[in-house]
Symmetry: C2
Amino acid sequence: MKYREAGVDLDAAERSVQSLGKLVQSTADAYTLSEIGSFGGLYKVPSDVADPILVSSADGVGTKIKLAFMTGVHDTIGRDIVNHCVNDILVQGARPLFFLDYLGLGKLEEAVVSEVVRGVAEACKENNCALLGGETAELPDLYSPGEYDLAGFIVGIVGRASLIDGSRVREGHVLLGYASSGLHTNGYTLARHIIFDVMGLSHDSEIPGLGKSVAEELMTVHQSYLPVLIDPLSHNSIEGLAHITGGGIPGNLQRVLPQGLGAVIDRSSWEIPPVFRILQEGGGVSIEEMDRVFNMGIGMIAVVEETETSSLISSARERGSDAWVIGEITDGGGVEYK
Amino acid sequence: MKYREAGVDLDAAERSVQSLGKLVQSTADAYTLSEIGSFGGLYKVPSDVADPILVSSADGVGTKIKLAFMTGVHDTIGRDIVNHCVNDILVQGARPLFFLDYLGLGKLEEAVVSEVVRGVAEACKENNCALLGGETAELPDLYSPGEYDLAGFIVGIVGRASLIDGSRVREGHVLLGYASSGLHTNGYTLARHIIFDVMGLSHDSEIPGLGKSVAEELMTVHQSYLPVLIDPLSHNSIEGLAHITGGGIPGNLQRVLPQGLGAVIDRSSWEIPPVFRILQEGGGVSIEEMDRVFNMGIGMIAVVEETETSSLISSARERGSDAWVIGEITDGGGVEYK
């Protein structure tokens, strides 16, 4: 009996590692020391950061991944996981150093793995992040044929003086909401249930009233806020940052509020993108539940001095992004809507 | 409709995060700056390492995880993934700094998550590694009920002068094989197929001739070689290291051989543990395939000067481990057996 007969193909794994090597090498920077195939990836600690702190995060893309299985489009999932991770360390003021991925699959299909890793590698390049390695594991008895899970792991760096930890957040600070590109990577179990089971659409159906297909809308790549926020962060114009993921605005903004402070969000201050209204109506979901599950059009919230808002908004718009003043920090506890 | 009805329980996720927090905090060290619940984990770059290089690795535990589902024992899988990752960076001379995990589940069962993370946290403590955070994701449409996948990410550090990259490996160097504790985390798709499908055993059956149950043998924790190798590494007594994982001795030793050098392994130099003989006979597997899929009783190979061998072997035995001279570096290419 050979291992292949039990469902694991070591030769395919080896070929896959080789073709991925080129993609990975394209993300290397001056600090990258190793090539793929060594046991661990090597990265020099940058010497130009005073009191350096490493900021690290692990994440997945949730059941957004099911859209990739449905459509056969796999690179966008790779981009999603990188951008998600970049945002998660950005909120502490860190810029990315390197990224690793874990890809568990039912069967190692080289074309699928290449597409996922192509997306990962391209997003790494866009975020000035080295793709240092990763693991591709064939687990035939755990994942169904054609299915896989993808986890990402990022390490970034910030000097202690530039660390954002919420301690600078004060009453009267303004909440600047940055536009999301769509659902990002949260709420997909509910969204898929509403779209496919309740509304009876398929991935290539046009969403009524949206002029876009289900796949087009639901597979829009999770936006990286690094390009928009890297300059303001370097000028210390940001007092706090919340990446709006699972838990929505209330759940994530709460995490950056110092004890005794609260936040009020003005619902009328930005236009909730149509997809969220369609999901809400299609599924009969309460607004409270919508707020907790989805980003509702706001992918990142910056806590800033009021005097900074106009230049931050202009700067975002110059980079093709959008931002609005959506609320403020108050002396009450918790996150409330008005 | 609530998110819970679509299969995701945000309250359970929140409770789970809180109970895990204590476990995670127990692994904190002087460099750990953040608690669980912030977006990214924070870790100060240690200032006592000259020319510091970060060494990072991502890995999974393969289908060994299916044994956890069968038996309801989940902490050992947590220990497996940490030790596996520790070994993967140890081979480049690095000691662990911090670890993050990704746990994707069909349904978030708090008892299961706690047990997995307890194993992760305990192994992190044993390896002087901070558990900096992680992601627990409920993906009801991807994993079957009661099933999950577990990925680990580790970051370690090594000074450039102590980096092991194979460049010091020379003809005539001796191969020191360190005993594995069992299958570690490789070859489980084949092993499970042979044990359960071909031999018709169940997880609580005694393996004939072994005096141990299937679960006891197959769930033995992947050994960490940090305790045995940290001193020899600090004294620069090691020229090269290969962690014997998927690909076996040939596949992994090859990765540390400089161009033009080879290795000869003497099969008679160590006793292959009975479980591998039982798998080979039970499955009718060729010895070449066995060598490529399983570690065959050798979990780590150190390339050393012959003069170092006796003190390294004594030192391993003092720590309750075992090691044997199992071969040498030759001027031929490739890894051969005699």
